[in-house]
Symmetry: C2
Subunit: 293 residues, 2 copies
């Protein structure tokens, strides 16, 4: 089976490392495109316009479900349609859901996000409840060839509160999580060698990056924190292995790139305009990272 | 303002400690009630029947969103309707969503679950990403008088993997989380004295229970693990304070009580039958806990 992780590995080699984050709220949609539409409708049309002109220059998409849950049932319909649209284009989508629950409940979540209305290629998972909360996801991933990224060391300042706590064996919590994931990767990996379950590792702490990659050569990383949060192309390269092994998420810097003052000339500020600006931002970021390798 | 935590404190004093978990999948609905209905419709009718006959003997309800996400958009409509129905009855509802994300995203989740289609009185939150992922929930809770329970020490076996790790200061991770929550409770609490943000603490580890209560007198606990997972009434009492300060969740033992072989007599096995069995299970559990105080 060609698993999601194999597909992602292959696409990174061709299209680079950029993961476009569709954390879309209606304020990000040009005003002209909000006329006579509900917020959920406007966001869906905007997302589709962005996907249309970025899918050939990005590795994958990450859709942050919180932005859609905020809009209630209608928002979740837009979430569902966004995932379907990305997959119809032949692109890969990461459902950024950060779910985590006891075994029986985790199995329900895995059904929810690997099948049906909300089917994605990858999900994100929160490990706080322990490995029996992760096992049901792995079980489905093995059957379906899907994948997941488990939160290991995130990019927000608050990650220091718990993730960087040193246990009495000297290891930090995030590294203990990583060790468990490497253990799973040894048994369940794609043809590319990376585990079906990867990890979320921010590119915001340069001094830990090389060690994290060295300790976990078998984990594919979903990398947040690029740009506004302080991570740069060099920080990313430290988390890669032979130039692959990770995708780098950016959301607002791409999907609101159209808001940056530019010389519009005669162009109307609509979804096409926003999509072209997004494409430029993706290409720039892709080339920054490729240039740093 | 009469906050959700004050209301919960007051209702426990009158109706006891039982939190009815509506972790409802369609297999829990009597076959006769599934005829000519979608799964989502059958679950909604079943939930309403249960609420109708239990709201006067339980403290509150907890609705586990995973069971509804599994059914996609239709399931989430049933989730929304279930929450509305409980609140229309004047009962309190805990949205068991275990969300957790970076600040901006957490603020979206807070909007999603404290307003609109998915409005609840309380939510559950996962602390792995740190206190800046919790702050947006607290901010909304203060404005709206809502509440939340943060995962501290859960009732599943896997909680030993990370929650019980000892940090190099000798404290366990769950206790470090609890200390942060107690810090917040000192500043933001209801008239009853308990913090707007409480904690999820399972009743499955008796030897830690008294110490947890002693260390965190200001935290109201949402207590899972009763019954099938091994916790009993005595374990619960160790987590209470003056007989209050916690609600005890039970889901399957209540909502599938109708499946236990009994002498049906001439009664048809329908939602009314299931609801009566649920009520009996709630009353029995309520009295077990009250009897152990």
């Amino acid at each position: 089976m060609n698993t999601s992780i194999d597909k992602l590995f292959d696409v990174v080699a061709v299209k680079g490392h950029v993961c476009v984050g569709l954390d879309t709220c209606v304020d990000y949609v040009p005003a002209a495109e909000r006329q006579n539409k509900t917020s959920a409708e406007a966001v869906l049309a905007f997302n589709k316009a962005l996907v249309d002109v970025t899918f050939d220059v990005c590795a994958c998409y990450k859709v942050q479900i919180a932005y859609y849950e905020e809009m209630g049932i209608d928002g979740l319909r837009t979430y569902s349609e966004t995932l379907k649209y990305i997959r119809q284009k032949g692109s890969l989508v990461i459902a950024d859901i950060k779910r985590g629950d006891i075994t029986d409940t985790a199995a329900r979540y895995a059904k929810a996000h690997f099948y049906g209305d909300f089917e994605a290629d990858f999900v994100t998972i929160n490990p706080y409840m322990g490995m029996d909360s992760i096992a049901p996801w792995l079980k489905e991933a093995v059957v379906l060839g899907k994948g997941a990224f488990v939160l290991m060391r995130t990019s927000n300042p608050g990650m220091r509160d718990f993730q960087q706590l040193a246990a009495n064996n000297g290891k930090k919590l995030y590294d203990i999580v990583g060790d468990k994931l490497s253990g799973l990767a040894a048994e369940h990996h794609g043809k590319c060698g990376y585990g079906l379950l990867g990890a979320v590792v921010g590119c915001t702490e340069r001094d830990e990056a090389a060690q994290i990659r060295k300790n976990h050569p078998d984990l594919f990383f979903l990398i947040p924190g690029y740009g506004a949060q302080g991570g740069g192309a060099l920080d990313v390269t430290l988390l890669l292995r032979n130039g692959n092994g990770g995708v780098v998420n950016a959301s607002r810097s791409i999907i609101t790139a159209w808001k940056t003052p530019v010389n519009h000339g005669q162009k109307p500020v609509n979804n096409s305009f926003a999509a072209e600006a997004a494409r430029e931002a993706v290409v720039k970021m892709r080339d920054e990272i490729l240039g740093a390798l």
